[in-house]
């Protein structure tokens, strides 16, 4: 009798332990996430009146949303710009980090140093350090001027001119050149992604490559038939991480606008509305794109 009871007791204890261990998250989620989330959703439909003693929320319907889309002069433009930038940069980051990981996984002299340098952006591209260079509007204007005046002398500019005059340069090319010109942005935001890909590459069993070599596989075939499918789950992880990271970067202009609207203008309702619009769009992008990617993901274990 007692022998039968004991495992039941342990199972029960384990369930309780499970709740206990995750209790901090549950509490934190309810207090600092669910409540503010609902409140901010409600605020986005209202006007918030802040006075010395407290704040009053007056329901106002869709006013803030209408204001964001039709009245505010900046919001639409910033939103479109940021999302376009994300659509161009995120795939570029994934491709860049994949190939960097492939190279860093090979054996060569000085690999340790190269790895140290490649992961340096994990530190350097975070938070304030990224944003501070765009802080001074005068400085930014000056940089734009320098960039424009140098356009003729840069290599990509020259190639672009040649292609355009010969009639090849189309819109697709322009996107390519934009990526090439922005390679620094891509390189500094792909530190974590490289680490994740690298860890995936190292888990691929060596015997697979050996078997393929014996069968007469070329390196190109090995890349597409072994490496690619084996780390395809990581493409999904990296894709989501890249987009999320992009939304939270400190030089994201939409976020900057939301923040300034909140802290400087003290217009809580309007800033909540903008935050929700942005959030819903980003969620939709993540959901659709990860659904498409997950169709192509191959799980070796299952």
């Amino acid at each position: 009798m007692s022998r039968q009871k004991k495992p039941v007791g342990l199972e029960k204890r384990k369930v309780i332990a499970g709740y206990l261990f995750t209790l901090p998250f549950t509490l934190g989620f309810l207090i600092f996430m669910v409540r503010p989330l609902i409140q901010s959703l409600y605020m986005s439909f209202s006007n918030v009146d802040v006075s010395a003693g407290g704040f009053k929320i007056l329901f106002a319907g869709l006013v803030n949303y209408i204001r964001a889309f039709t009245i505010d002069i900046e919001f639409n433009r910033l939103l479109v710009e940021e999302i376009l930038r994300m659509c161009i940069n995120a795939p570029a980051i994934i491709v860049f980090s994949f190939f960097s990981a492939l190279i860093l996984n090979q054996k060569f002299v000085g690999r340790g140093i190269v790895r140290v340098i490649f992961f340096l952006p994990v530190i350097l591209s975070s938070g304030v350090i990224l944003g501070v260079e765009y802080n001074n509007s005068l400085l930014a204007g000056m940089q734009d001027m320098i960039a424009n005046s140098n356009a003729g002398t840069s290599i990509t500019g020259a190639i672009q001119k040649i292609l355009v005059t010969s009639g090849v340069g189309t819109r697709a090319f322009r996107i390519v050149f934009e990526i090439v010109d922005g390679i620094y942005d891509v390189a500094i935001s792909s530190g974590i992604q490289i680490i994740i890909f690298l860890s995936g590459l190292q888990t691929i069993p060596h015997s697979m490559y050996e078997a393929a070599e014996i069968e007469g596989c070329t390196a190109w075939e090995k890349l597409w038939k072994i490496t690619f499918p084996m780390i395809s789950p990581l493409f999904l992880v990296n894709w989501v991480y890249t987009i999320v990271d992009f939304c939270m970067r400190s030089d994201n202009q939409v976020m900057e606008k939301i923040r300034s609207e909140m802290v400087v203008q003290i217009n809580y309702g309007f800033s909540s509305a903008m935050a929700w619009i942005y959030f819903v769009i980003v969620m939709a992008i993540i959901a659709v794109s990860s659904f498409i990617i997950s169709k192509g993901v191959y799980y070796y274990d299952e």
Partner: protein
């Protein structure tokens, strides 16, 4: 058969390269040329990319050592003509470097410690125990990862500005408490796994603990070890690498974070916040001391901002050089998958 092979190898080794090439009908030469070409391409590519990443830091370092007249001198590009450390002195004054550094270290260390400890517990709970709402709760973790904190910041901001526990304080003193200028809310959030990138850490810990064989704990249970003691004495020692790396990431990201700092730690002098204000301070300083209505020039602002940035990241760079392995290796161990 093998002895024949060995004899063949010996024969081949004694012959010159060209002899061997002739024997393999040109294959050997082709192969070595290919290897050299691949190496050269790879070295060029890597050198270029490393330069790309390092160039801004090198540029900042050079600019920070220049005197003001060098900035306007088009002959001076990287090597300063009038070497000076005055920029560092000025930037340190603008940022009140000593005080800010101390505050930043304290805040980063404590929040990182609180956050990582809590996330570790939660991650372990998700990895090992089965309970009814586990799947739902884990979906919430994913949600926390992908919700931009800006979405809820408005509400949290008000919440802490007029903080009250079911109206107790209002009844006692007549007003609610303003927690916005104190550190407490941020610690509370870190403890509730809602701090900076907490969801990510939970995810990483969960992946790590899932990969540790279950038999280890089962053996401990059989020997009569309780669940919490098993966690402390069996799992914790195993989890050292992941704790180190999560702690380092948390520390570094907290150090450079500007969003949470601006929103919740408004009044404390922290490096990241001080750095973001350095341009305006310089402007005011130039206006006041030189009586120049135009304020600081673009070049000079750039120089001081670069100096400030270097001073903010210098401690992190030193930390990174020493703990480089801790940053990189443990992530490889987690085997992140979705």
């Amino acid at each position: 058969m093998t002895s024949e092979n060995e004899a063949m190898d010996g024969l081949l080794q004694s012959k010159s390269y060209w002899e061997r090439n002739r024997l393999s009908e040109g294959y050997l030469l082709k192969k070595s040329i290919k290897a050299v070409v691949v190496r050269i391409c790879r070295a060029t590519l890597l050198f270029g990319m490393c330069f790309l990443i390092l160039q801004p830091i090198i540029g900042k370092l050079c600019v920070s050592l220049m005197a003001e007249e060098d900035l306007y001198n088009s002959m001076v590009i990287y090597v300063p003509e009038n070497f000076t450390l005055a920029n560092y002195q000025l930037a340190a004054d603008f940022m009140s470097y000593g005080e800010s550094l101390k505050n930043t270290i304290i805040i980063s260390l404590t929040t990182a410690a609180v956050q990582i400890f809590m996330c570790m517990l939660v991650g372990y709970g998700f990895a090992r125990f089965n309970f009814h709402i586990k799947k739902l709760l884990f979906a919430c973790v994913i949600l926390v990862i992908i919700i931009p904190p800006q979405t809820i910041s408005t509400s949290l901001y008000l919440h802490f500005r007029y903080f009250d526990i079911v109206g107790i304080f209002k009844a006692l003193t007549g007003t609610s408490i303003n927690l916005r200028d104190s550190v407490i809310p941020y610690y509370l959030m870190s403890a509730g796994c809602m701090g900076l990138k907490s969801g990510l850490y939970i995810f990483m810990f969960r992946q790590f603990f899932r990969n540790i064989p279950k038999e280890l704990e089962e053996a401990a249970y059989v020997d009569g070890c309780g669940i919490f003691r098993t966690f402390i004495s069996i799992m914790l020692p195993d989890a050292k690498p992941i704790i180190t790396s999560c702690f380092l990431f948390s520390f570094v990201w907290q150090w450079t974070d500007i969003f949470y700092t601006k929103t919740f730690l408004g009044n404390i002098k922290l490096l990241s916040r001080q750095l973001s204000m350095i341009g305006d301070r310089l402007d005011a300083y130039v206006k006041m001391t030189l009586g120049d209505a135009g304020g600081a020039s673009v070049g000079y602002t750039n120089c001081i901002v670069s100096t400030g940035t270097l001073m903010v990241i210098a401690p992190l760079l030193i930390l990174y050089l020493f703990a480089q392995k801790g940053f990189v290796e443990s992530i490889s161990n987690t085997g992140i998958k979705m």
